[in-house]
């Protein structure tokens, strides 16, 4: 357990401030999509209000995909996973911590950015609230999915592009229930989004850990 904070703080520093752009790029990307969407469909407020929530969801999914290539592969190439294994720190534990840090690195900022995005799209406050709740329920699942797929595609040629392609179809249930809750207006959709997230969170450490181990052969 003592390893938890050490791993968490390293992962957070790496994901928030590492790389070329850190955690800022996905958020700017997300806001840019929300800003451009009214230009693409025209200024009709009823159309914007009806479809805006779904656009926020799609933009959130794409923003979560952007940092995938930095999640697992650098640590394998630098030998971190091998050194952790020698110290008895299991791959499952590392992946579980990584899911948490990936979520922390994009979801809170994304949910904050969803507020101006909702205003830009002219969403009603009830829809805005449903979007925020849905994102809260759905982004942990997106994080788990992203880390799992990143672990599975390590070492493949064009792994970054491939992992993006793999995440999108697997995220369909989250999108259907998350964005669906906006049109039906009930909390059932949000609850189902949360259920999908929980299932993905439960699977991610074991699938990701097995993928990292298999990659050593």
């Amino acid at each position: 357990m003592s390893s938890f904070w050490t791993l968490l703080s390293r992962d957070l520093a790496r994901l928030l401030f590492g790389g070329r752009s850190g955690a800022l790029l996905p958020i700017l990307f997300f806001l840019a999509v929300a800003m451009l969407y009214p230009f693409a469909v025209g200024p009709d407020t009823t159309v914007l209000a009806r479809t805006g929530g779904g656009v926020i969801w799609v933009a959130a999914l794409l923003a979560a995909i952007l940092p995938l290539d930095r999640l697992i592969e650098p640590d394998i190439e630098l030998g971190f996973f091998d050194q952790w294994a020698l110290r008895g720190i299991s791959e499952e534990w590392i992946i579980a911590v990584r899911v948490l840090t990936h979520w922390l690195s994009f979801a809170p900022a994304l949910m904050l950015a969803a507020l101006p995005a909702a205003a830009l799209l002219g969403l009603e406050s009830s829809t805005g609230r449903a979007v925020e709740l849905g994102l809260l329920a759905g982004t942990p699942g997106l994080a788990a999915l992203g880390v799992t797929v990143a672990a599975l595609t390590v070492g493949l040629r064009g792994g970054a592009a491939l992992s993006g392609l793999l995440v999108i179809p697997l995220a369909v249930p989250l999108l259907i229930f998350g964005a669906g809750s906006l049109s039906t207006g009930g909390d059932a959709g949000i609850a189902l989004t949360g259920a999908c997230s929980l299932a993905l969170l439960a699977v991610a450490p074991f699938a990701g850990g097995a993928a990292v181990r298999a990659g050593r052969e």
Binding site: L78, D82, R87, I89
Partner: protein
């Protein structure tokens, strides 16, 4: 130091369709060292990874007492971080063992990001990580690559001290490694 021992029984290693070596056995008691020699591609690194438990042997088994410290071509230090903080990460995980930074000639480099370090400096940094780990079983894969003559002597002295203190050392290198009382294992004799 913890009890240290490593023994391999009838090991075989297969990479792809090729069996690299087979029927390899040895045992090291505390204080003993083994030099694994052989040409490039003969399976030295694979043998060390099998001993470390990172690769499954094709046949045979490894018996081990004590934790393992491994040095290979990857330093496991964050390239973007200053060396001091990169080493501090492992220090947090490994505990307070002394990593002898000054003796390795790294004192002046602690503020320098790891990506600006030379090959030899990175190798010495990896040794600082290894010493800080305090593991009784050392597996060193080409530990002399990129080191200058004084650093080579330092690494040889570190390995000798480690064995004297009751540790075990397995060194895979195509270069000569000067150390008294070291056994030699030529992988050529086990190649199939």
């Amino acid at each position: 130091m913890q009890e240290s021992r490593i023994a391999a029984t009838d090991l075989a290693c297969r990479r792809g369709e090729r069996v690299l070596f087979a029927g390899l056995s040895f045992a090291l008691a505390p204080g003993e060292a083994l030099h694994v020699a052989g040409a490039n591609g003969i399976g030295k690194s694979s043998l060390l990874r099998i001993l470390a438990g990172l690769l499954r042997p094709y046949a045979g088994s490894v018996e081990l007492a004590g934790s393992i410290g491994l040095i290979d071509e990857r330093t496991a230090l964050d390239p973007a971080l200053p060396l001091g903080r990169a080493l501090a990460f492992w220090q947090h995980l490994d505990g307070p063992a002394d990593s002898e930074v000054a003796r390795l000639g790294l004192s002046d480099l602690l503020d320098v990001p790891v990506r600006y370090l030379s090959t030899g400096q990175r190798k010495r940094a990896a040794f600082a990580r290894l010493l800080g780990q305090g593991a009784p079983v050392w597996l060193l894969d080409e530990p002399l690559n990129g080191l200058d003559t004084s650093a080579v002597q330092l690494v040889e002295a570190l390995a000798a001290e480690h064995c004297k203190a009751g540790g075990v050392c397995v060194i895979a290198s195509h270069q000569p490694f000067a150390m008294g009382g070291m056994e030699r294992l030529d992988l050529k004799d086990y190649a199939s």
